[in-house]
């Protein structure tokens, strides 16, 4: 696999194989893969002085202490983490007006959908299955695994989403 490898942080002295993490960042809906040793410190995901140098576990509210190791933090093989600069992300949902909710950046779209479908639009499960979230002007619907922190625009910590009906293909 073609992965990013933090220098000197792959494997460990006990010969344990490195583990792969899915790292989500702003500006890319999909994660990239990084190989790290479970005994490395979380800081190894961050370039020194990097503005985006804060790390969260997926769906976690609190950011991680960069000086603890992955294994101590409970981060294992194929876990998802988020790296970014926004500590909170303001989501503006457009559905019969604007509705706002603030989330941690590692919150998934699946979680935002539950708020949008249940609390805002009051959709039944059957109706919810026929709706999706998308960014204005996008050419695709958002997948449930996307982090809201990956959607923030430069210089802001804000995301605007539309609640849309899913198409039924007709010929």
């Amino acid at each position: 696999m073609s992965n990013d490898r933090p220098d000197g942080e792959v494997g460990n002295a006990e010969g344990n194989p490195p583990m792969e993490l899915f790292v989500h960042t702003a500006g890319n809906e999909h994660p990239h893969i990084m190989e790290v040793a479970e005994t490395a410190v979380i800081k190894s995901l961050v370039v020194e002085g990097e503005e985006d140098g804060h790390i969260w576990m997926e769906e976690a509210e609190e950011e991680l202490d960069l000086d603890v190791t992955f294994v101590v933090a409970g981060i294992g093989h194929h876990h998802h983490v988020h790296k970014g600069r926004c500590h909170r992300v303001e989501v503006i949902l457009r559905w019969n007006g604007n509705h706002e909710h603030t989330y941690a950046p590692a919150t998934t779209i699946a979680t935002v959908e539950r708020w949008a479908f249940d609390k805002v639009a009051h959709l039944s499960p059957e109706q919810a299955a026929q709706h999706v979230l998308a960014e204005p002007g996008a050419d695709h619907f958002l997948a449930g695994g996307v982090h809201v922190g990956s959607l923030v625009t430069p210089e802001t910590c804000q995301v605007t989403l539309d609640l849309l009906p899913r198409s039924r293909f007709e010929g």
């Binding site: 899915f22 790292v23 999909h30 994660p31 998308a134 050419d139 849309l164 198409s167 293909f169 010929g171």
Partner: protein
């Protein structure tokens, strides 16, 4: 000695299989790669639990020209090494429409959807009518796998 180099479309697909998007779906057991025999790839896509239904459905894709040309793919019977018989295809409102068994010409090898090559060829207006789900060259195979996985895990999926 002659070095055999894979064609660009095959190299593009194999590079995608190394991407975070594809690997994250595989790690989450949403799909798994079974075989690549160019220009075909066989993948299994997991489905919601339903009585007497498989936990995953296998699709065989034809990927000539990937990603500039849309892939096409249909349900595959691995044991028979053939397209899945119409009576055994998934049931449910959207699943049955996607994997048609009513005689649509593409039903045996393709999906009735704007992300599928045959679906688009049969409905040239779909690219404009359904731009959020239509194939374009910026897509990758995981986009298609996500669409199918969503259908096979929705409330209206009824199983086999």
């Amino acid at each position: 000695m002659t070095t055999v180099t894979a064609p660009p479309d095959e190299r593009a697909l194999r590079a995608h299989f190394d991407s975070g998007r594809f690997c994250a779906g595989a790690a989450a057991r949403q799909w798994r790669l079974i075989d690549i025999t160019w220009p075909n790839a066989v993948l299994a896509i997991s489905a919601a639990e339903r009585p007497n239904a498989p936990s995953e459905w296998v699709l065989r894709f034809e990927l000539t020209g990937y990603p500039h040309t849309a892939p096409t793919g249909g349900l595959w019977d691995v044991a028979a090494d053939a397209s899945m018989a119409p009576a055994r295809r998934p049931k449910g409102q959207r699943a049955a429409q996607l994997f048609r068994s009513d005689g649509w010409i593409g039903g045996a090898t393709a999906m009735y959807a704007p992300w599928d090559r045959l679906g688009l060829q049969a409905h040239p207006d779909w690219a404009n009518r359904y731009p959020m789900q239509a194939w374009n060259p910026t897509r990758d195979l995981s986009f298609m796998l996500e669409q199918v996985h969503e259908v096979l895990n929705a409330d209206d999926y009824l199983g086999a």
